[in-house]
């Protein structure tokens, strides 16, 4: 079971939604589409589902072109960001409907519906209710169940958790990988949140303005973004950047400021670069970094506290930076502080913004 996109593109009128894209998804893989809103995630999924016709290129399912095949005859299931259920039917009937259409014998149908419902933690009482009588979380569970019960070869999830409360999202997010492991299908999961992408693992395709900037194993892409676009897309809060010129032992930036080119940075050939480091590698407390550091001075703009960690928003020579601190770190805005970038985790991009080298490289492989 494979899904192959071969030079597929999509345009509405003059505006291009998807530039020619080729992609191969294998059986039993979890594939995350990561990108900001309007980067083409949904368009791509709609093409995969067959809801839209590609402007060019072919879509092959198990090797055969599915251009002519009607959506309802395709081996696909989909869940939307909005909670889409049939309001007129009970939750049970909602889940059952794909099976009824496949003429599945009654007892088997009942078995499968109940099994899926149990998997999605929908109890007997909820099965008898109408979807709109349930909470948002349960409605989406119903939609997910309806998609799963079909046991389709291709399951498309378009930001299924985006409209849920913070904690609900956390719970469901933890369940999805389990569900996925149990079905052998090709999963495609669109999200705007790098964090979510990392939790789901599997493969990832980073999208930016209708183009896939990089496709590969999620942790590898995270640790080796091929260019700054991918790095930007796959970093939340956004990656911190600094234009540097390496001359000898120093990295110069801004108006004649500089830091010592420590660690592997020392081995860079002299040239102009774009250095990037993730918020979790920019620290406000020296003791949080083990190895060598690049030290900068930045003004604190404000802090975002998630409880387990705090994101300190900084202003470094007009560039907006974000640093991460463990636990709760609340400092008044305005005051200037020292921040420490972990030298081992600095990405270096050349002038056309391609990745040059990074010490994270060795570890990811």
């Amino acid at each position: 079971m494979t899904l192959v996109l071969d030079g597929v593109s999509k345009a509405v009128g003059s505006e291009i939604h998807i530039h020619p894209t080729s992609l191969t998804l294998e059986k039993g893989t979890m594939n995350v589409l990561l990108g900001p809103t309007l980067s083409g995630k949904t368009s791509l999924m709609r093409l995969m589902a067959g809801l839209d016709k590609p402007a060019s290129g072919r879509i092959l399912w198990n090797g055969s072109d599915v251009a002519g095949v009607a959506v309802r005859n395709r081996d696909v299931a989909m869940v939307y960001q909005q909670f889409i259920n049939y309001p007129g039917m009970t939750v049970y009937e909602n889940i059952a409907s794909p099976l009824r259409l496949k003429r599945v014998p009654r007892d088997e149908l009942d078995r499968r519906v109940r099994a899926t419902a149990e998997l999605m933690k929908l109890d007997e009482r909820q099965l008898r209710r109408k979807p709109l009588e349930l909470s948002g979380g349960q409605q989406q569970r119903c939609a997910l169940a309806r998609a799963l019960v079909k046991e389709a070869g291709l399951v498309l999830l378009d930001e299924p958790l985006a409209n849920l409360d913070y904690k609900l999202r956390e719970e469901l997010r933890a369940e999805i990988p389990k569900i996925f492991e149990e079905s052998g299908a090709i999963f495609v999961y669109a999200t705007t949140e790098p964090h979510e992408a990392l939790l789901l693992g599997g493969n990832i395709a980073c999208l930016w303005e209708g183009r896939i900037t990089q496709f590969g194993k999620t942790p590898e892409v995270y640790r080796r973004p091929v260019d700054t676009t991918t790095a930007r897309v796959f970093s939340d809060p956004p990656m911190n950047f600094l234009r540097i010129t390496k001359t000898g032992e120093t990295l110069n930036f801004g108006e004649h400021q500089s830091v010592a080119a420590v660690g592997t940075l020392a081995r860079l050939p002299d040239a102009r670069y774009l250095a990037g480091f993730r918020p979790n590698h920019l620290h406000v407390r020296r003791q949080e970094v083990a190895g060598e550091v690049l030290t900068f001075h930045a003004a604190i703009a404000g802090t975002e506290i998630t409880g387990s960690e705090s994101f300190v928003h900084l202003d470094h020579a007009g560039e907006r930076w974000v640093a991460m601190a463990r636990g709760v770190y609340d400092m008044a805005g305005g005051d200037v502080t020292e921040v420490y970038a972990d030298a081992r985790h600095v990405f270096v991009f050349d002038e056309n913004e391609r990745l040059v080298q990074t010490t994270a490289l060795g570890r990811a492989a």
Partner: protein
């Protein structure tokens, strides 16, 4: 000011009810009493007019005719408008906008203009003096209306539901009947209501296209009013009876009406 607010609608309703009351009042009077002069309520109360209407075929057949062609028109209009409205709401196709606008312009066609040509047209089709003729002619303004209202309701349903259904494996007809129509049930109700309303109240075309067999009640009345003397009581009774069907229908859709109007679709 807010304390006496309720007065406004109340007074208005009283104003609305007065002529209706007067009609009823008359309908229960004997012709003599009517001609006898002004009186607030019938002194020698009689249901004779009603009895006549229910016994005299020229009268009750009038009702049957009206109800028949209104019903036919409702069915035709709604069932033709449903798929069209869906198409206008969901699909982009050659000339869709112009077509939609053209449809609406027909709501602006004065029946007076069409009376005569209709007579010729339907005579030519051999439909003259049939309920079907009236029903079809009323499509002129009811179908555009129906399409308009339904389009509004349909656009209120997210198209993701359609797609989900296709993905689940529904064929279009099955999806449309099993999933979609229930979803816009209230819309269909409102539409049917307005079709009823405009078909029921229209007289000019109904009168022009019929002579004997399919004569609508409204026409029967005008005949009474003009030719066969001045039987006010009878006229009033007949009139009173024409209010009832409307009253019944409005009662059923009362909760959807506001919604129907809300989309400015009337």
């Amino acid at each position: 000011m807010t304390r006496y607010r309720w007065l406004v609608p109340t007074l208005y309703i009283v104003f609305l009810m007065l002529p209706i009351y007067w009609l009823l009042n008359m309908s229960f009077k004997t012709t003599n009493e009517i001609l006898g002069g002004f009186s607030w309520f019938p002194h020698d109360f009689t249901a004779a007019s009603y009895v006549k209407i229910f016994t005299d075929p020229t009268w009750y057949s009038g009702y049957i005719n009206s109800i028949t062609y209104v019903a036919i028109n409702m069915v035709i209009s709604v069932s033709a408008a449903l798929p069209a409205a869906y198409a206008f709401s969901r699909y982009r196709f050659l000339g869709d906008k112009h077509l939609f606008f053209w449809l609406l312009t027909n709501r602006m066609a004065p029946p007076a203009v069409f009376a005569l040509p209709f007579l010729e047209l339907y005579s030519a089709m051999g439909l003259f003096d049939t309920n079907l003729a009236v029903a079809l002619s009323h499509c002129l303004f009811n179908i555009p209306l129906a399409v308009w209202i339904l389009e509004g309701f349909i656009s209120g349903v997210p198209k993701e539901i359609d797609e989900t259904a296709y993905i689940d494996g529904y064929s279009f007809p099955r999806f449309f009947v099993k999933i979609f129509m229930p979803l816009i049930g209230s819309g269909i109700g409102v539409t049917a209501f307005f079709c009823f309303m405009f078909s029921w109240v229209e007289l000019l075309l109904a009168k022009t296209l019929t002579s004997v067999a399919a004569k609508p009640i409204a026409a029967v009345m005008t005949k009474t009013a003009s030719s066969s003397g001045y039987e006010l009581g009878l006229l009033a009774a007949a009139g009173a009876l024409t209010i009832i069907p409307g009253a019944i229908v409005i009662y059923f859709v009362r909760n959807y009406i506001a919604k129907g109007f809300a989309m400015g679709r009337v």
